[in-house]
Symmetry: C2
DNA sequence: CGACGAGTGTGAACCAGGTCACATCGGCCT
DNA sequence: AGGCCGATGTGACCTGGTTCACACTCGTCG
């Protein structure tokens, strides 16, 4: 539906944008092995955009015309049903790319994407990108690896959702998020609201809150406003591993 | 764990095996565009095996050393939890390939695979296969498409499981299966037990049975032993589309 | 043929998690 | 300093789906 898309009107110094794009690409695992010429060409394709929290980037069913990379902020990949319930499939942070599936196979988008916080992204058009990939076989192999990673993440989700109960799923989600937001060890703070977590694990905010409070009582986590601090990863890992486990303690 | 693997001891006329492998590969969307030389080389890599129903092919966590293709029968891709519950992620039929993820990214298998019926498969070792792919850029692009397809299938599953209730999920599963087992129109017979379906949608056999009976009463489906015949796809499609829907009828 | 095992059909009791309906808290904006 | 609004905390009730415990019906194999 509404593709807020990438506004073209930014007259910001093209030079600085291009160079920051370049340095982002250089750091990205997918692109960093490309030679400088190729990278610079890619940068010329990149269109830059700044989005306000909540802005739609694309919607499920849209034709997938662009590949995106996040420069700052986070982007939410989600789906929603007719009756308003929605589920978050993934959060994409700075330095990561998203929207690759529809670009690579030229079919419709499989989910919605929107700005989860204010953020800067850039977009590369499929018409520029696909020929570029075809000319760079090692890049194609990198994309194969990326897709495999995504597939692992997604089938992991299926596994969680089908086989685990609330504590197990919540623990898995927390572990996954601490891995992702990997910070200094000892005080891992995950900047996510309980509402968001509930949508990631597919359960209600209320249930999540109750479980989190239990764990807070055991000093496994500390709850802050808009964030969760994992104090003791060990029991959470145990819960996440077990197919579904008791809460005896 | 137990990798029944590909027994080497078959002394069956290598010639006929090789030629049937070749003709299978030629029909497969992934391989059919390769030139004859490449295909023949691939066939030389292929190791042939015959498996009895229930035989394990690989297990979650194993190193993924082979890519497989099914020549006849069906292979079940599933996961199971510590407490015995298990979920079927996919059924792979004749002409399809499986086990590509671990081969392509050289990590552990993400799920178990076993023979769902007696079947014939062949295996290609990663050490033969990966260099081969790297030398065939168009093949790499084909694999990108395959992985995208898998990703679509899998995230579809996540969506179903999180957003839909029993009728919705069951309807989706039936629709997906009729698409897959695509037969002559009008009397689509899906050769799956209710137990299997229940494991695909992540609910109990009992619940599935009750729902199916309701639909049988409305002549949407007919139940047979070890099979379900879809008589009227329309209402099922409607249920599958809706995020989750009432059963008023 | 007869019996055994896999698949199917069904009801009663139970329970994890959802729903609803609030109270509270913190941060920010004016 | 006051007023929102988004986020958190919590209880009472409801319910879809599980669990358990069966009877039944096919096929098929000795």
């Amino acid at each position: 539906m509404v593709v807020t898309g990438v506004p073209q009107d930014k007259k910001v110094a093209a030079q600085s944008v291009a160079s920051s794009t370049l340095s982002l690409l250089r750091k990205h695992p997918i692109f960093r092995d490309l030679d400088s010429d190729a990278l610079e060409q890619l940068c010329r394709y990149a269109k830059h955009a700044t989005l306000k929290r909540g802005a739609a980037i694309f919607a499920k069913g849209d034709p997938g015309n662009s590949l995106y990379a996040v420069m700052s902020g986070t982007v939410k990949i989600s789906i929603s049903s007719a009756d308003g319930r929605s589920a978050i499939l993934n959060l994409i942070g700075a330095g990561e790319i998203f929207g690759e599936i529809a670009v690579l196979d030229s079919h419709a988008r499989t989910a919605d994407a929107s700005a989860n916080t204010n953020c800067e992204i850039f977009a590369i058009d499929r018409r520029d990108f696909l020929p570029f990939v075809r000319g760079q076989p090692t890049l194609a192999m990198k994309f194969i690896e990326l897709l495999c990673m995504r597939l692992r993440w997604t089938s992991d989700q299926v596994e969680q959702v089908i086989l685990q109960d609330l504590p197990g799923r919540l623990a898995s989600a927390l572990v996954r998020l601490t891995d992702k937001y990997k910070l200094a060890p000892g005080g891992r703070t995950i900047a996510v609201t309980q509402q968001e977590i509930s949508e990631m694990v597919g359960m209600t905010r209320e249930s999540i809150n109750k479980q989190l409070r239990v764990w807070a009582g055991r000093n496994w986590v500390r709850l802050e406003h808009g964030a969760i601090v994992v104090l003791d990863e060990v029991p959470l890992l145990a819960l996440a591993e077990a197919g579904s486990e008791d809460e005896a303690g």
